[in-house]
Symmetry: C2
Subunit: 359 residues, 2 copies
């Protein structure tokens, strides 16, 4: 029996996708081999790779002057690859610090560039995002980096920052594909797969053509965006299985009605959980309401001594991976695309019952 | 029906491993989730990670003063990570150029260090390896790099180079686990998974403790060996599914009798194929006999115009992925651990029949 899985990543995948993976695991398309066992340069795999890109482009409406790259290393590798590819050693780059992930991105960029912190929400304990007019952008910066959704703080930008004349770079690991997004607002988007795309080990990069060719000489060959674009992300052997699963997820999203349909569902799931938390005196989410994440809902129990009992009882009820991130404690329910509304309904019912018993 | 799959990588996996993956794909160990869908920091996954390391250590006899890292990016990422971690910008490093892969490793290192080519077999068209006494090693080099087995040339070292006082670094992507190997001869070993370990997207690094802590400041955080060692390869989300499959492969190897047993089988497989080629006037392998690869057997047909017909007929007979690397053409049969002797028997029988018809 399948659990209602609230993992923050690696996260739940659609059962239909897993069922297809299972059905063809040892004999893929009549080849007598698993999709894991074939050359990434075979025509059969190139079809998988191209279909995945085509479907991702269709889902997000990615224009032809953007390239889609399939890389390894997670978002954290991009924390280095972005400055290496887009900024010279003397360049200044702007970072918006709105949580643990943007701060880590910023710290990695400091190895390579002068970093200007264009907004800093650490004083608010990362419970909100800056107002659009409060960004302290640097004229002539190589790029502006932000994290539209913070998985640990559970805070997300309700707007896309305007950065006239400067490319905007977005770490969309935890929000890409959760709703429609205007790609053209960004020069570069990256996302690790293990939330809304597929298994861990794959990273999607969407980059405007004109930003290619700027890599500094010390950029590792496997991270050079231009080389990757020229070689269809096959500078070296890509993570073929993860790429294949991502392609199945993209097909599944199309079957679900695309990103507009996902947005409606994701909004409904988040609203249900936040409403349940806010109606309670027992559970608490401290994020400012206008920038609460649809994808990651951290919450605390009135008495942290009950945390272990909560997790234990939830798991017994088939509600798994609710423990909060080790940096902040408490609980966290991640509500990525593959998590059904029924999971949130079961969670809120469980929470009410737990409160009734322990509140 | 399963094919006899001679892919050079991503390569054949043991059917027993794939069957287990399939059996537990949507409900792993009664968790109600796939192993792809659980946190890499959960106790359940940490058990997988630790068991994989333990079993790999047992198989190879890795001493306690070596660390085992599970990384992303393939061997090609290590081409950059090795100089970044082990050599300063002013350092000199020695590279043995014995084929396409060692040459690519060397070229990547040149971004970061002064590279001395301590042996160069390009003039021999990579059909042999240097004699032990012919290595032109640099006194005080930060390390010596070599590629024990070249997948494209099909050449392998019948000996481990002696580099007194200088750490030896080995790209063992295509030979690790194919037979016993004395890890202590090397300071660092790396191997991409998609030959003898598991699915593409995982890289194993085995590094002597004393080589940690030398990374230059520009080393990307996800590639810093010391940080990876300190955080059990979880600086960021690792490729959990590939790691899990690798663990199953390690268990499978133990069940097969370990690396001594694999060596016997791999030797027999290679001997059968080379003997069949050498006995023929129709097929040809030009590698010097003392350094022919057990893992990758490239061969040419007397008439290259027959290549397409050979591949086509082989596939019809269930012998797949025999086309040679695009750089060299011809054919290549890779005989990694998961390829059974029966596959080589079927291949040699097919080759004889093809020669009879077309020779």
């Amino acid at each position: 029996m399948r659990a209602f899985n609230f993992a923050a990543g690696p996260a739940m995948l659609p059962l239909e996708v897993l069922d297809q993976v299972r059905a063809e695991l040892t004999d893929w398309r009549g080849s007598g081999s698993s999709v894991m066992e074939i050359s990434h340069r075979s025509n059969a795999f190139l079809e998988v790779a191209e279909a995945a890109e085509r479907d991702l482009r269709a889902l997000l409406g990615i224009p032809t002057d953007y390239r889609v790259l399939f890389m390894q290393g997670g978002a954290r590798a991009q924390f280095a690859a972005v400055p290496l590819n887009l900024a010279g050693p003397e360049a200044c780059v702007d970072y918006l610090n709105t949580g643990v992930w943007s701060k880590l991105a910023l710290a990695e960029a400091e190895r390579y560039c002068r970093v200007n912190v264009a907004a800093d929400e650490s004083a608010s304990l990362y419970c909100t995002v800056p107002q659009p007019d409060d960004l302290q952008l640097t004229a002539g910066a190589a790029y502006v980096h932000y994290t539209p959704n913070e998985t640990i703080g559970g805070v997300e930008f309700p707007y896309t920052p305007a950065t006239p004349g400067t490319p905007l770079v977005a770490d969309m690991s935890s929000t890409l594909l959760s709703r429609p997004f205007d790609v053209t607002r960004c020069g570069l988007i990256y996302a690790s797969a293990q939330k809304n795309i597929g298994p861990a080990g794959l990273t999607v990069v969407i980059v405007r053509d004109e930003l290619l060719g700027r890599a500094r000489p010390g950029t590792p060959g496997v991270w050079n965006y231009q080389a990757l674009a020229q070689q269809n992300s096959m500078v070296n052997t890509p993570p073929t299985f993860a790429w294949y699963v991502a392609g199945l997820v993209f097909k599944w999203l199309q079957g679900q009605g695309g990103l507009a349909a996902m947005a409606e569902r994701n909004r409904a799931k988040a609203q249900l959980l936040y409403a349940s938390i806010d109606a309670s005196g027992f559970y608490r989410n401290t994020v400012a309401r206008h920038c609460r994440s649809w994808m990651n809902v951290p919450f605390k129990l009135a008495d942290p001594a009950l945390d272990a009992a909560f997790v234990h009882a939830a798991e017994a009820a088939g509600l798994t991976q609710l423990r909060g991130h080790r940096l902040v404690g408490g609980m966290r329910a991640s509500l990525y695309n593959a998590v059904p509304l029924a999971a949130v309904q079961a969670l809120t019912a469980f929470m009410q019952e737990f409160e009734r018993r322990h509140g």
